[in-house]
Amino acid sequence: MMRVWRWILAIIIGAWLPIVFITWWWNASAESTNPYFPPLSVIWEQFKVNWIFELVPVHVVPSIRNLLVGFLIAAVIAIPAGTLIGASRSGTRYVEPVVDFIRSIPPVALVPIFILLLGLDAQMRITSIAFSASFPILLATIEGVRSTNLVVLDTAKSFRLSRSAILWRVRLPGAMPTVFAGLQVGFQIAFVVTIASEVLGSGFGLGAFTLIATDSFLIVDAWTGVILLGILGYLLNLVFDLVERISLRWYYGQKKLS
């Protein structure tokens, strides 16, 4: 019972500012004749027309698909690669400067290069997403695996576990809290690159929709796109947090007790 109340309280505390903001926006824009800032009530009417659920299959589904496929490819490549590199002392030394260099380039700036290399199809978009998202995941995994606790390592060695068992069953699981920090950053980058990659040469996807609407002076449509992007980003982060909480139950459980 206490937990339910605490939960409700947390929602109230978290929700009051957005509610105040939306109310203010609704009222302040009600009489607006400025074409760039249409009344929120008008935007809302158009939002319902566009996104419940008329245009969802055309513009939302491709974006989410690209995002998830690109992000998963990044994770599937970067986590094993980072584990191998992090476990090898010289590997870390050789790889880290290169990774740090590429990571320093804003991911969005790489999209034109991918267009040159791969053209304008979904494959290019997924490749850009996977490429950009993989670096934070790679770095976090290297760091997590490299800093395996020595007692843990000694214990595993004294059990005569094989090198691969020590790597995949001891060092990587122990590094998962750090890996998840990298996954979180990678996921946010993947979202940004998903939208940015649609700005060029695409008729589908939320990024394309919003850009085309802006260029065609369909300001209300553009606003609905921006608002939907905000909502989607927020919801995707909630899902990510949930997956993390479930996967790292041992970690949060332990932290709560200590």
Partner: protein, 257 residues
């Protein structure tokens, strides 16, 4: 003359440091007899843990050699299990108690059922039946150290090596764990080597106590504890021989004798 369980032969250990070589151990020789309980004591920083790492094959001596049952040690040997002081780190926090205990059994190639049975037996031996689905961090410190003992005996070792196993638990739990270790040793006939800084504990548990002293450390003396087994916390600790031995070993550790 039978082969000793562990034979330490003229072992030296040096570490290179930025300020020159750090000589930790110099010419340590000692044989651990089959079935014995041996404690290694000495002042803090004398190199007890270094010697223990050498015994478990986690490190290689710079001079001399260590043999386990007549075979020169090059890596962690089969049939030797280790319990470390820091149970909060040596138990994997992402695995349940059951999976922690099953982890070293991976090499044993047991069937799923046999593995489960082995885990259950080991938990029963340390009095923790029913905790298999808990995570180690949900248990008290004493219980966690019981889990690491269960994990060690799950591989049915013939040699058990422990590094300050009871250093971070309260006094009552410590007594219970000491008696548990004696029971385990009786039930399985395990040769046991324990590093400790607690002299009372060394006297209570051991057949022989190896006292390290000096820098670099050498064997200062080997003390035989001729108090018969089974021992009990009440009677043994009130035995006049217990008091004499404790005083003697204490004097040696402090360099007074």
């Amino acid at each position: 003359m039978t082969t000793p369980a562990i034979s330490i032969r003229d072992v030296t250990m040096d570490y290179p440091t930025p300020d020159g070589v750090n000589h930790v151990l110099a010419g340590i020789s000692y044989d651990v007899a089959e079935g014995h309980f041996v404690s290694i004591v000495g002042p803090s920083g004398v190199g007890k843990t270094t010697l223990l790492r050498l015994l478990t094959g986690l490190a290689t001596p710079t001079g001399g050699e260590i043999q386990v049952r007549g075979e020169r040690l090059t890596s962690s040997p089969e049939g030797l299990a280790v319990v470390l002081q820091d149970y909060t780190r040596s138990l994997m926090p992402w695995l349940t108690v059951e999976k922690n205990i099953a982890l070293p059994l991976r090499n044993a190639k047991l069937s799923r059922a046999a593995m489960r049975e082995r885990v259950e037996e080991s938990l029963a031996e340390v009095g923790l039946t029913g905790t298999d689905r808990s995570y180690p961090w949900q248990l008290s410190g004493g219980m966690q150290q019981r889990v690491s003992i269960a994990r060690a005996i799950a591989v049915r070792p013939s040699i058990l090596v422990m590094d300050e196993p009871f250093a971070s638990v309260d006094a009552q739990t410590r007594f219970d764990l000491e008696d548990l270790v004696l029971k385990v040793r009786d039930d399985f006939g395990i040769t046991t080597v324990m590093v400790t800084h607690d002299i009372d504990e060394a006297v209570y548990l051991s057949d022989e106590i190896v006292v390290l002293h000096g820098k670099p450390a050498a064997v200062r003396d080997v003390v035989k504890v001729e108090i018969p087994f089974p021992r009990s916390q009440m009677a043994t600790r009130n035995d006049h021989r217990f008091a004499e031995l404790r005083t003697r070993v204490y004097g040696m550790v402090r360099g007074l004798e």
